[in-house]
Symmetry: C2
Subunit: 254 residues, 2 copies
Amino acid sequence: MILAVANQKGGVGKTTTVVNLGAYWARARWKVLLVDLDPQGHATSGLGVHRAYVRTSTYDCLIQGASVRQAALPTELDGLDLLPSSLDLAGAEVELVNSPGREQRLRQALEPARQRYDWILVDCPPSLGLLTVNALAAADGVLVPIQCEFYALEGVAQLVRTVEAVRRALNPGLQVAAVILTMYDPRTNLSEQVAREVRAHFGARVAKTVVPRSVRLAEAPSHGKPVMLYDPYSKGAQAYEALAQELAASLRPA
Amino acid sequence: MILAVANQKGGVGKTTTVVNLGAYWARARWKVLLVDLDPQGHATSGLGVHRAYVRTSTYDCLIQGASVRQAALPTELDGLDLLPSSLDLAGAEVELVNSPGREQRLRQALEPARQRYDWILVDCPPSLGLLTVNALAAADGVLVPIQCEFYALEGVAQLVRTVEAVRRALNPGLQVAAVILTMYDPRTNLSEQVAREVRAHFGARVAKTVVPRSVRLAEAPSHGKPVMLYDPYSKGAQAYEALAQELAASLRPA
Ligand SMILES: Nc1ncnc2c1ncn2[C@@H]1O[C@H](COP(=O)(O)OP(=O)(O)OP(=O)(O)O)[C@@H](O)[C@H]1O
Ligand SMILES: Nc1ncnc2c1ncn2[C@@H]1O[C@H](COP(=O)(O)OP(=O)(O)OP(=O)(O)O)[C@@H](O)[C@H]1O
Ligand SMILES: [Mg+2]
Ligand SMILES: [Mg+2]
């Protein structure tokens, strides 16, 4: 199953969700591929891979037609592979603008990899440009992390409109698979207010597991590790472990 | 003076810096224009302006050659005007790609407004695309908010390279005017570690005023107000008041 993790609002926990969901699914013996589609390359660095050593990257798959098999790197975790980002990804959107089938490049690159992986998680950049559209065209579902802060709901209507446009024009099966509440801080009214509004909007599609604000989640990437390997007993780690179980049950019925 | 507030990393406090610096400068009797160049429109909504009521926007200035005088809106604060964002801004980058002088559109639009405002602050989207390049081509200096978290330093080298490329090709006077540490949390080692690294990198360009993590800053936009009007005695408000004084002294020598 291919899942795009998208929200054009910056800093809401897209990369943190991709890296940590991927890690817990790999530990549960699924085969997982993380695709770093963000020119910032934070999923790549958050797993301890230094961009300077990357040979073939997501850029090569999109623009040069390289295969996932050539580009995918193993990580510290058995069963978790990474399609790394590279600096030239920043130029991909402009390069794709005038090329034929520009929205379907990622879909074509990931097609052969579907058999080899149970989950393919795509980390999107904070925009609704051609890279995110490529992810939506390739995906079976979208995971939408929403930070429990005011601006959270502002942009979601735009994201949902984009998902619907991609469903109509490029990918008829595309759905919002789950909305994930992140950085929930029980000490503030703001978090609870936003959580209530998001549930009113999305109903059952909001994951029951809420990810709390937890500094261990912010520290783990500086050690190049998912939080599971950095501090598995932290609140943040336990939340992503529970989220991995919840989504595996709801998105892949037995 | 025109300042672009830019960092392609999402959620680092760009909009919060634009809205709150602008508010304190307006209270100190400067004439201030905020330019919302982000299709998300958070500077616009954070000031209580509903995008549905916006007639002329930043998009019209960029693409249709509308003047700032036509598009700028007054706000609750005397001396603080806003050039609002609109949804069509999301399409501006693709529309600009093949048009002549595509990087200089904002500079042309803001030129006549320079006489009427002491400070023009441009809120950039979380990317280094054509909208941000337009802001850098128009600006005298760049303010770079950096969140005190691991990924903070990752992208800054790319941002600095982009600033240098714009300085060489489009805007010889452009400099990094100040680096601002945001969301500093004294309870964690991570914040202090990142702050130390940022100061080692940027030396004296790092503002002495550090903005702490403060939930009142996150709550203020849900009331459509800068924190100065929402909770002026909060830590976040006091930090932006001190930052406004510090930058006014260092960037506009008497
Ligand atoms: N639940 C959490 N608690 C505390 N910090 C968190 C949490 N989730 C993420 N973070 C931290 O917040 C910052 C933003 O998270 P992250 O980078 O995952 O967001 P993103 O949506 O991928 O950002 P971008 O839009 O730039 O791609 C990072 O420094 C991350 O370590
Ligand atoms: N010092 C702070 N303390 C606590 N919360 C903050 C602080 N500064 C900003 N915030 C909150 O963090 C979130 C991100 O801030 P903001 O939207 O200003 O960042 P941004 O860089 O403009 O994001 P984007 O990349 O999406 O444009 C917002 O919900 C904001 O209210
Ligand atoms: Mg990210
Ligand atoms: Mg912003």
